[in-house]
């Protein structure tokens, strides 16, 4: 298969950012109150993702290793500002108001930083741009599907057209708790199907998958990612406790980490 087409297939199906890797949960939960809101958020994120991947890939040999995270943040934040201003000017007013604070918050969306770290920093600009397109379309599809389900159950409508009479709405699904419940069902389904994801693999399983060259889900290496925060915190506390008597094995390990 053509390697560019392969990136798009990879983003939509094999490593779908929402359904498989489970990145960027904040916008997924917050902006899927209706299909059109989910779609709008997906498109905004896609735009940022394509250009951030392309720029970071183009700059990958110039940015020094040690300051790469701040450099990525500046690139991403500039792009988000551009998208925010464009949406303010051209997007429908209702949509812009509904997305509100979540548009500037694309800056801290793990998908964008994750793709920059995992893909764009190691590949050519054009290939990275296609990776951004694939991931973006995958994210947009996922958000639209979740939004569609929540809108249908919660407000009885499809893209704003009411098809189920008022008496049969389950209003909770368009409100905050509904988002958690939908996501719970989604992750349960994933566990059931044993799909690779950040949430149902242990560290060893991830390493094994990586060796086998299969999609390993999220590797949990991003600085801001919390999915493995518990591990990090416990390890640090352990290190700190062991730091006082200065055991050789532990201080060796700590040195290695730095």
């Amino acid at each position: 298969m053509n390697k560019y087409i392969e990136r798009i297939y990879n983003g939509i199906i094999k490593e779908n950012p929402t359904f498989v890797i489970m990145l960027g949960m904040c916008p997924t939960l917050a902006t899927t109150t209706s299909a059109i809101n989910g779609f709008g958020m997906g498109v905004a994120t896609t735009a940022v993702l394509i250009f951030s991947n392309m720029l970071i890939a183009a700059l990958r040999n110039i940015i020094p290793e040690k300051v790469r995270i701040p450099a990525y943040v500046v690139v991403i934040a500039s792009l988000v500002t551009i998208v925010d201003l464009l949406m303010q000017a051209f997007a429908p007013r209702d949509l812009y108001n509904a997305l509100g604070i979540y548009i500037p918050l694309i800056v801290v969306n793990c998908i964008i930083m994750g793709r920059a770290e995992a893909y764009a920093a190691k590949h050519a600009p054009l290939l990275s741009a296609f990776d951004g397109i694939g991931m973006g379309i995958g994210f947009t599809c996922a958000l639209t599907i979740i939004g569609f389900c929540r809108e249908l159950i919660g407000a009885g409508s499809v893209f704003g057209y009411t098809i189920i009479p008022d008496d049969f709405h389950v209003g909770i699904f368009v409100m905050a708790p509904g988002a958690f419940l939908v996501l719970a069902c989604l992750t349960a389904l994933q566990n059931k199907l044993k799909a690779p994801s950040a949430t149902n693999l242990t560290k060893e399983e991830r390493a094994k998958k990586k060796l086998a060259g299969e999609p390993e889900g999220c590797t949990g290496n991003c600085q801001s990612c919390m999915l493995h925060a518990e591990e990090i915190v416990e390890k640090k506390i352990e290190l700190k406790k062991a730091d006082c008597p200065k055991t050789d094995a532990v201080s060796d390990r700590e040195g290695g980490n730095r």
């Binding site: 939960l29 708790p177 988002a179 958690f180 389904l189 566990n191 919390m226 999915l227 493995h228 990090i232």
Partner: protein
Amino acid sequence: MQELLLIAVGAALVNNVTLSQFLGICPFLGVSKKVETATGMGVAVLFVISLASLICSLIYDHILVPMDLAYLQTIVFILVIAGLVQFVEMFLKKSIPSLYTALGVYLPLITTNCAVLGAALTNVQEGYGLVESVVNGVGISAGFLLAITLMAGVREKIAENEGIPKSFQGSPIVLVTAGLMAIAFCGFSGLI
């Protein structure tokens, strides 16, 4: 005074940052296995959000607005927050080691937490002044501390329960719990 109280209660309970705004979901799900670590995380977030609200409000009112650069808020805020967290970490390490032992582990994890940026942006969007911003920041983070501590308490009990269906073990049951907590927090909506 009454207005400030309304802002604080509104931010902490009515529009709870995690359970109704979905900000800071990652630490909420990631660091809530034990009450002890959850509280540590909550207090660290409280510290950083309060400070970030103060600094970002000052920068917005006295640098960005007079220079007509308000559209740069996203870039400026994220860089200020990242720098602030680094600075706070160094400062605590040097000057207040006891506080650093308690919070130091969590600080680097908060750098790009969306709740911090979310708080700074909300302050600007609502047009809050300096005092209101800080009160709003404290309210938001108090809400986060409350939610994550409650969640950790529930999760400690869940861990002992063996009746959970296999596919719901792990994060799905945590999300269901979060959903139920969110329903409970909906009850606060009549408060203001």
